[in-house]
Amino acid sequence: MVTPSVPSTLPPLPAPKKRRRGVPIAIRALINAKMLLGAGVFYALFVALVVGLLYPTMTKLNLDAYLTSTGVASLVGAKLTHASSFAAIIGLELYGAFYGLIFGSIIGYIAGAALPATIENGTLDLALARPISRTRYYSELWLSALFASVLTSLATMFAVWLSTLVVKNAQIDWTWLTITQLIEFAFFVFAVGVGLLFGSCMNSSRGAGGAAVGIIFLGYVMNALGSLTNKLNWLLKIEPYYYTPGVQALVQHNFTYWHPWVLVGVGLLCALCGMIIFNRRDLPMA
């Protein structure tokens, strides 16, 4: 046996300097979500611009009776008394239940996949073997999903602004548009919470993201069914779209102010439950 010859003692090396930490986990999670976020931004721009371009034609077709019908109300999750203005059309097309369904699903998937993705790519073990608490790790992922929600909200507002450039007399009330966007942001807080909750207890990013999307889709189905008949009204009270009166705010300039807070509360509660689960569980190997 040949033993390498190494001196028995060597001088110790200098201690490393401290390094500013920032929020590397949140930034990394956002980079991981770039494709989905890009798809969301593209969709917002696409819908807003298409509505802007088609608006003159739609006003000529006089779709008011159709758009204010119960059938459409069950689809978009909003019952309007008139739907001829640009605000109403953009509200129905962009900020109805579809907004929660599409953008909420994107955000929910991003939040759900964030944690299991780091199990799958092997970085969770290496990260948590460093002086990073599980609470901080989870909080940064939460922060990244909320930041993704802010980016999506800003992109949507930008898309609406772009569409107003192609519509004469769009007459959008920007204060109420901002309020509408904040209401939708409350839905995002809910979607983030649901996603994180699944992500905290599942090891597959697709599984956790898919489960979050499933809950959001289930909510949409409950909303659609609950809007059809008074007998199923109870369904509305237990699904998230009922508490997302974005279209009413944009078109009728009023809404039940506490409704979005229900979404925020449930979202925070889900995220907190996820944090407790993540702190207590054994982490699987990649």
Binding site: M1, T9, L10, K18, R19, R130, P131, I132, M285
Partner: protein, 312 residues
């Protein structure tokens, strides 16, 4: 200062009656061992023996069912932040995000450590690490080298290495073993699990052998070497009875082929030399027996009696 001195007085790693169960499956069954400061400690065992489970308990990635782990004087669960500030970790299977470059992944983990990677240049040069390409294009060996850089780059006081030479070519394994010995000379404590017994033999002072979640031995490598003894080959010019050799104290496993005798001897060779002097010896060859045989014996035997720990 007093706190640091107290930490130095305690073992670098103290594992007390560690148990870990997954439902009805007991992965680790009451492990107790201490690792001294400045020691390279080998942790051996067959696949599924509980090595990685023990390491993951030490890192608080999984929670023990019972028992306690203290690292550098801190409780590995309750004071994990203090522990993790001072350790480097190399997982058994280094998996890294394919969409990052080597440089990005090093910067990311240095951010998480909150320390500058002071040894980066030295490690990159020594292990010939590629930093520019995307990690998905790296071979297993190159990923392992990145893992080694990540573990050592912030100059930690204690290293926990799970199968560190897995995927490295023989030349790089030799470089790594030399590097470990240098780290020990700098006063670092190293806890490493391995399947490659020759590596353990070269660098470790003590080894623990785990099987079916139980420690079957904690021994100094020198003591194991004593146990392994020496392999002797003797060719006689006159006829010699096998029984005559077998009667010599310390001799075992005597075999004979074409007048050449092979056997293993433990302890002093004096009795053997005196016995051989009574015969015509044409050829005599003695060499250290490989430790693999001793380790494999631990793997195979039933752990009826646990070997006493050689405490320091």
């Amino acid at each position: 200062m007093i706190a640091i001195a107290q930490q130095k007085e305690r073992p670098a790693i103290e594992i007390s009656d560690l148990h870990k169960s997954y439902g009805n499956v007991q992965a680790v069954k009451g492990i107790t061992m201490n690792i001294a400061h400045g020691e390279i400690f080998g942790f051996l065992g067959p696949n599924g023996a509980g090595k990685t489970t023990t390491i993951r308990c030490m890192l608080d990635l999984i929670r023990p069912t019972a028992g306690n782990v203290r690292i550098l004087g801190y409780d590995a669960q309750r004071e994990r932040q203090q522990v993790h500030r001072q350790i480097g970790y190399l997982p058994g299977d280094v998996r890294l995000p394919g969409d990052m470059t080597g440089k990005q992944v090093i910067s990311y983990f240095a951010d998480l450590q909150g320390l500058e990677p002071v040894r980066l240049k030295e490690l990159v040069a020594r292990f010939d690490v590629e930093l520019k390409g995307l990690l998905k294009s790296y071979s297993k060996g190159m990923r392992q080298k990145i893992g080694i850089v990540l573990a050592f780059m912030c100059n930690p006081a204690l290293l926990i290495l799970d199968e560190p030479t897995s995927g490295l070519d023989p030349l790089m394994q030799k470089t790594f073993n030399e590097f470990l010995l240098e780290e020990r000379a700098r006063g670092k404590t190293i806890f490493m699990s391995s399947h490659i017994m020759s590596d353990v033999e070269k660098v470790c002072q003590r080894v623990a052998v785990i099987r079916n979640g139980q420690l079957v031995a904690v021994e100094a490598v020198e003591a194991l070497r004593e146990k392994a003894g020496q392999r002797v080959t003797v060719e006689f010019g006159d006829p010699v009875a096998t029984e005559e050799l077998a009667r010599i104290p310390g001799i075992r496993n005597v075999t004979c082929a074409d007048g050449t005798y092979h056997f293993t001897i433990s302890g002093s060779m004096d009795a053997l030399i005196k016995a051989l002097s009574r015969h015509e010896v044409r050829r005599l060859l003695a060499e250290e027996a490989p430790l693999e045989e001793v380790f494999l014996k631990f793997y195979e035997e039933q752990p009826a009696k646990l070997a006493p720990e050689l405490s320091r």
